[in-house]
């Protein structure tokens, strides 16, 4: 709170002379940014999005020469924050985190979103990938993905837990069901923590979860990894094979978040923002901190990010329909 108020005051103090000195010149890239920037985190303080935002905001201020004010307006899995970005002035001064769920899953699950994640937002850059892993207990005797799939075929009603309906973890499970021809039952939790407790207690048979949450358990041998969900291995745990390597060809699901601004922002401004953000994310100090926190830095061009959102949104919509996730 105080920090926010303070940073607002400082922002105002710095902004006042600047805006007096400069005539209103529109949003031309050469001038951008002309005033303090607003960074919508989309989630309450303390989560991984907030951690990343607080890590990159000071560096971004250096790059852009304007204060970056963090806004933690939260709700509905990041939709509320993105809505504020979508409805802001298209001058690039307002941007925010879009998580994969909000951009590529919610539009299919919830047809009444107050904005169109594709039409009303301008992608700036992908930020980080949060690698996921399928794990079971050592007591299960399962050591490989193939054994897991065989058991799931012979024992119907095997369960997998995730952080909740419509998360990347849930989609990964549904995709595994579809591609491997098995019928795991999804058990949704409110976040990864409770799902992990139920796995350790033997109440669910498996869990799809972010690597960082179970890394210590894996190292201690308390859980067995069967495969990461990303198309490639993750630098966070290079020893774990991918699910695709484990025999499910072409398998790939990632949980990620990137940065988007308002649609209609001039391309030069988006390019300027992109350049600043990419250089911050590629900073060795920043990427080391991100990796320590379990996130893979993954900066990209605006175009690549846009393509990724569109491709994944389409694939997810198909998956959601095929899996019957909408019927209930």
């Amino acid at each position: 709170m105080w920090k926010k108020v303070l940073s607002l005051l400082i922002a105002a103090a710095i902004a006042a002379p600047v805006s007096m000195a400069l005539p209103q010149s529109g949003a031309e890239a050469a001038d951008f940014p002309t005033k303090p920037l607003r960074f919508h985190v989309g989630f309450p303080p303390g989560g991984s999005t907030d951690r990343v935002a607080r890590l990159i905001a000071p560096r971004l201020e250096q790059e852009l020469g304007q204060p970056v004010v963090l806004d933690n307006t939260a709700g509905a899995g990041g939709i509320v924050g993105l809505n504020a970005v979508a409805k802001a002035d298209p001058d690039g001064h307002t941007f925010g985190f879009g998580v994969s769920g909000a951009l590529t899953v919610q539009p299919t699950l919830k047809p009444n979103l107050p904005f169109d994640p594709i039409e009303d937002l301008a992608p700036v850059t992908m930020a980080v990938i949060n690698p996921l892993v399928l794990v079971v207990r050592p007591e299960s005797g399962i050591k490989t993905l193939q054994q897991f799939i065989e058991q799931a075929k012979s024992r119907p009603g095997m369960t997998y837990g995730t952080a909740g309906v419509g998360t990347a973890m849930h989609l990964a499970g549904q995709l595994l069901n579809q591609e491997a021809g098995i019928e795991l039952t999804h058990v949704g939790y409110k976040g990864s923590g409770p799902a992990l407790v139920d796995l350790l207690g033997g109440h669910v048979d498996s869990v799809i979860i972010d690597v960082i949450t179970v890394k210590a358990h894996l190292e201690a041998g308390k859980l067995v990894p069967l495969g990461v969900t990303t198309p490639e291995r993750t630098p966070l745990a290079p020893d774990i094979p991918t699910i695709a390597e484990g025999g499910v060809d072409g398998f790939g699901v990632s949980s990620w978040f990137g940065i988007l601004t308002t649609a209609g922002t001039p391309p030069e401004v988006v390019a300027r923002l992109n350049a600043a953000l990419v250089s911050v994310l590629e900073d060795p100090e920043v990427s080391k901190k991100l990796l320590e926190g379990g996130l893979q830095p993954a900066p990209s061009s605006p175009e690549a990010f846009r393509d990724r959102i569109r491709t994944e949104a389409r694939k997810n919509a198909e998956l959601i329909k095929a899996a019957g996730m909408l019927q209930r």
């Binding site: 709170m1 933690n72 939709i79 009603g157 039952t185 407790v197």
Partner: protein
């Protein structure tokens, strides 16, 4: 002996100059945050999280933990003085704490708050110190079926927390259950009762509902009798408020309540997900149930302050067990603390206790120091808190309202939540005018969503087989107790009818 050596080692860590300073800073901030209504522990910790970047991991964790349990002490103060729960776990404290203050016994209520909190915390820490690894296995044993059975018992036991008509209590609890349904269905992701308002897909904010129904409703009720306390009670009333000396017998009367509350809290605190909140409600309900004069509850029974406060403080301590021993965060605050450890390159997990003994035992030792400090800090302040009531309502209430609005807003920067406080304030006012008590509503609102979540999850896992609740021993025991309780309730009602005496506790 081993424990003693470890504790001494922990003390040596906790008493290091830097660690001690940050732990003390943490409890003081926590205490303040608790007193300020609306500002949650989560908000406070996340604001101060950046401070920890420069600290050692041990100091960082001690500070954050200090905020967490320090807030439990402070949270009861406004519950007693203004009927305004500082944190949701202090809701049950309002039920008897505020009536006590109205009777001019704010001093004794506040003293009991600190005393019970301290006792609860000590029991919690001691249990944690001796049985941490054992307790952590308890957390594993509780699957969805066990949670469901436990919550069923909680709901039935708690159905009597309200004073007055049993039918009205039941109606309020059902209303609470319905309000708890608002949000996103956990199994299908379908929004329920959100009316297209995107913010409502996360459900109604617990803190907003609590602040509205208790605090704001209370202000509205008092508006028309703004100087009533003085007029009703005469000039001696306010000086009575300032007296912090506990009534003779208060402590003796509350001994059992504190003991039961502490044990219950220690037990529930270990279970990730239910924790302090459920513990304080259940502790209150139990005291009322086993009391020989249940009609005293809600009208200023000192045990009604002692039990929930002992419970939520012991739970706040043992809540660290799954976090430290297993590396599993029980609630968002714990997740934040684990996040702080990750920031320092420490992987929380099953080997934390062995690999980082300085963290575990240092933290335990800092709990002892922190709790002693909290008592030392709060006892002299009691008189000051109590004297807060001598501030004329026309100054005090607008200021308290402002604090509520700012606090609620700061949780998720949502204006909707502030509006919700007002809506629930007006609703609470109307209900109180009609003699509906808000306490059962809160209980239904808190336990209802968990009740549904665990019930459906258990059936999902058992593939629809209802016998899962009876096959699992822990679950069967809880359900058996629930059955006994219902049977006993019916029997005692029948017996009363036979005796021909009207049900007591009907009048408000």
């Amino acid at each position: 002996m081993d424990t003693l050596t470890n504790l001494l080692y922990g003390l040596s860590v906790a008493l290091e100059w830097q660690n001690l300073t940050w732990a003390l800073f943490g409890v003081i901030v926590g205490n303040l945050i608790g007193v300020l209504p609306g500002i949650g522990v989560l908000t406070a910790i996340s604001i101060l999280l950046p401070l920890t970047y420069a600290m050692t991991p041990v100091a960082a964790l001690m500070m954050l933990a200090g905020i967490y349990y320090g807030a439990q002490y402070g949270g009861g103060v406004t519950s007693i003085l203004l009927n305004l729960p500082g944190t949701p776990t202090n809701v049950p404290t309002c039920l008897d704490g505020h009536p006590l203050a109205r009777q001019g016994r704010a001093g004794s209520a506040l003293f009991m708050l600190i005393f019970a909190s301290f006792c609860g915390a000590l029991v919690g820490i001691t249990i944690m110190m001796l049985f941490a690894p054992l307790l952590s296995t308890v957390a594993y044993r509780f699957g969805p079926a066990e949670y469901f059975a436990m919550i069923t018992l909680g709901l039935v036991a708690g159905s009597t927390v309200g004073k007055g008509s049993a039918v009205k209590s039941l109606a309020m609890m059902v209303l609470g259950l319905i309000l708890g349904v608002v949000g996103t269905d956990i199994n299908t992701g379908t929004p329920r009762f959100t009316f297209g308002v995107i913010e409502l897909t996360d459900g109604l904010s617990l803190i907003a509902v609590a602040m509205g129904l208790f605090g704001v409703a209370n202000f509205l009720l008092d508006v028309n009798r703004i100087d009533a306390p003085q007029r009703q009670h005469g000039p001696g009333f306010l000086s009575g408020m300032g007296s912090v000396r506990p009534h003779a017998g208060d402590v003796r009367q509350s001994r059992g309540a504190i003991a039961r509350g502490s044990l219950l809290g220690s037990g529930l605190g270990v279970l990730p997900g239910t924790g302090a909140l459920t513990a304080s409600f259940m502790a209150y309900a139990i005291e009322k149930r086993i009391s020989r004069k249940p009609e005293r509850f809600g009208n200023g029974a000192i045990e009604g302050v002692a039990a929930p406060e002992a419970a939520n403080n012991s739970a706040a301590q043992t809540a660290f067990v799954p976090t430290l021993v297993l590396g599993i965060p029980g609630d968002p605050v714990m997740a934040l603390m684990l996040g702080a450890l990750i920031l320092h390159g420490i992987q929380p997990g099953p080997q934390l206790m062995a690999a980082h003994a300085d963290i575990f035992w240092g933290l335990i030792a800092s709990f002892w120091i922190g709790n002693l400090l909290l008592v030392a800090l709060n006892l002299p302040l009691l008189g000051m808190w109590a004297r807060l009531l001598t501030v004329p309502y026309r100054h005090l209430y607008p200021f308290a309202l402002l604090c509520v609005a700012v606090g609620v807003y700061s949780t998720s920067a949502s204006v909707l939540d502030v509006g919700m406080v007002l809506v629930f304030g007006v609703l609470g006012y109307g209900l109180r005018k009609l003699r509906f008590e808000p306490a059962p509503l809160m209980l239904g609102f808190v336990l209802g969503p968990m009740f549904e979540e665990y019930f459906r999850r258990a059936l999902l896992i058992s593939r629809g087989d209802l016998t899962i609740f009876l096959v699992k021993p822990i679950s069967a025991v809880f359900l058996g107790l629930t059955g006994l309780l219902i049977g006993w309730l019916i029997l005692s009602a029948l017996r009363r009818e036979q005796l021909g005496s009207p049900r007591p506790a009907q009048e408000t």
